[in-house]
């Protein structure tokens, strides 16, 4: 496909979050999407190569900046990977605190996403409410780590900072508030007609397709696949925590919203367990800057799904090769599948459904198969189009969807 015909433009408030802004080419027939072709790389910075020129300690800070939203997932994954390769083990309190940050991050990331999803369907009031409540979890994170985003909490051999009893008390209080609000959002999502009209039976990804295309994370779980690294390949403190893997089998957008809201509730449960049962002792052990020759694979369930890191060490202070596979890349074939056969007006919300960071930054190219007319839209124009179109066609579309 020719790149000259498209370009990206900056677009606003919905920055749904992840590593790669993407360029998609849509082939449309009237109002229906026929085919989708992705082109990524706008956000490619060459981190894997740069990792080879950094020491393991410097790498901690680079790896955290793969993605600012799931920074702890990447950094924690990196830390446990290097620990395994170096043959050291983080002390129990360190592991618990690391897991706490992972779960708090999941709460912040999922709430962020839920807000963005409401925004995508034009429900801005709820978007603002969710983001207001999300500030509470940002406060806990800031209290524990000293920073709102990019916490720099993990280090090789444990975590950098300990928590005090006051922090634990404050965090528990904030979690109570968050639980109540999250339950309210769940109720709204399940009952509000204007949300249901835009999500029920939209962006279907069948279970077989999710399996075939190797979907990960909430995207896979909303399609009835019970996959979760926390359960399948336990790491951190997860084998000692009591939690459920949330699965919905309606395979549509409602399922994707509800999976994430339920996961927030599960995360709150886990955070409570961690805060109330923190083991005593040190939070980290010493790491001698060199890692012996060898290799290691580390996996983490990031907010968006399975995150895999692979390291090949050569006995020096720097890695021979460091490989990262972030979850959004794994979900791109799935989102292409979801978009096929859907309406143009559903593109923004279906995109947002996998929790990517793409839709906002790139223009999209449309080709009508009948007239061969080509045109481009920005995400903002597309969203406006979607709202207008739904005003006109709401009744027939909803009737058609709810019939099946």
């Amino acid at each position: 496909m020719s790149e000259e015909r498209m370009f990206r433009i900056p677009v606003g408030p919905q920055h749904p979050a992840l590593k790669e802004p993407i360029n998609f080419t849509f082939i449309v027939d009237g109002e229906r999407v026929v085919d989708v072709k992705p082109r990524i790389g706008y956000n490619h910075r060459g981190i894997e190569k740069l990792m080879e020129s950094k020491t393991y300690i410097q790498g901690l800070y680079l790896i955290e900046r793969i993605c600012g939203i799931c920074s702890a997932a990447h950094q924690g994954c990196y830390a446990q990977n290097i620990e395994e390769a170096a043959g050291i083990e983080a002390p129990p309190r360190g592991v618990y605190l690391r897991t706490l940050i992972w779960e708090l991050e999941r709460i912040h990331s999922h709430l962020l996403w839920v807000g963005v999803a409401y925004h995508e369907i034009g429900f801005d009031t709820l978007f603002m409410y969710v983001w207001r409540d999300r500030e509470r979890v940002m406060d806990i994170l800031e209290m524990i780590s000293g920073n709102r985003v990019n916490y720099a909490m993990n280090t090789i051999g444990g975590v950098r900072r300990d928590v005090t009893p006051e922090i634990v008390d404050n965090a528990l209080k904030a979690l109570d508030y968050l639980e109540e609000r999250t339950k309210y959002y769940k109720k709204v999502t399940e009952e509000d007609d204007s949300i249901l009209a835009r999500t029920v039976n939209v962006g279907i990804l069948k279970t077989e397709d999710a399996k075939r295309l190797c979907a990960v994370g909430p995207t896979a779980r909303a399609s009835g696949l019970k996959v979760d690294v926390r359960r399948d390949d336990p790491y951190g403190a997860y084998d000692e925590l009591d939690f459920d893997v949330v699965v919905y089998d309606t395979c549509d957008l409602t399922a994707r919203v509800l999976v994430r809201i339920d996961e927030v509730l599960e995360s709150i449960k886990m955070c409570r367990q961690i805060l109330q049962n923190l083991p005593s002792g040190p939070v980290r052990v010493k790491f001698k800057r060199k890692v012996p020759e060898g290799e290691s694979i580390s996996k983490v369930e990031a907010p968006r799904g399975e995150d895999l890191h692979y390291v090949k060490a050569n006995g020096t202070e720097k890695p021979e090769r460091y490989k990262v596979r972030a979850p959004t890349l794994a979900n791109i074939p799935s989102v292409c599948e979801m978009l096929k056969g859907g309406y143009i007006a559903d593109i923004p919300i279906v995109f947002a459904g996998i929790d990517p960071c793409i839709a906002c930054t790139d223009r999209m190219l449309f080709i009508d198969v009948n007239t061969e007319r080509k045109w481009m839209w920005t995400e903002e124009e597309l969203r406006m189009y979607a709202r207008k179109w739904y005003k006109k066609h709401l009744k027939e579309v909803v009737r058609e969807r709810w019939k099946c």
């Binding site: 956000n43 910075r45 978007f127 603002m128 983001w131 906002c360």
Partner: protein, 145 residues
């Protein structure tokens, strides 16, 4: 200064519309820019509004280290903005390349590609810092504009 000029200046300072563009950053700055626009920090009370099109914007807010693939598009957007236009570099990457300095696919900072008016350091900058940057820009507008 004529009355019309004074009115234009007054309007510009009271309602700077911004355009947010991620040039390959890690999203941390982007979610903080978003946080600035949501209820707790709410810069809309200063008349600041986020716009989707460069043709409507006065201020270009750029995050990220400017990847090679994105640089051309970034310039294009800048040229599409009407005069007078201002550029804010938010975050360590946009200021100097930050942690990605030396990687094969990035420029080292926004000022290698576009003229920058305000730098907001931090990785990511706290929402308060971003608001401070905005206020500094408004002051610059008032004095220079």
């Amino acid at each position: 200064m004529g009355i019309l000029d004074r009115m234009v200046k007054w309007a510009r300072i009271r309602s700077p519309w911004i355009l947010h563009f991620n040039t390959g950053g890690c999203n941390a700055c982007d979610i903080e820019v978003l946080a600035v626009l949501t209820p707790r920090f709410d810069v809309e009370r200063f008349g600041i509004l986020l716009k989707g099109s460069p043709r409507h914007a006065d201020v270009l807010v750029v995050t990220g280290p400017v990847t090679r693939q994105v640089a051309k598009r970034l310039k294009r957007i800048y040229y599409q903005m009407p005069e007078p236009k201002f550029v804010m570099a938010v975050g360590a990457c946009a200021v100097s390349g930050g942690v990605f300095r030396g990687a094969y696919n990035v420029h080292m900072g926004l000022d290698q590609v576009l003229p920058v008016d305000v730098y907001v350091p931090g990785c990511p900058p706290k929402p308060e810092a971003i608001i401070d940057g905005v206020v500094k820009l408004l002051k610059k507008l008032e004095e220079g504009g």
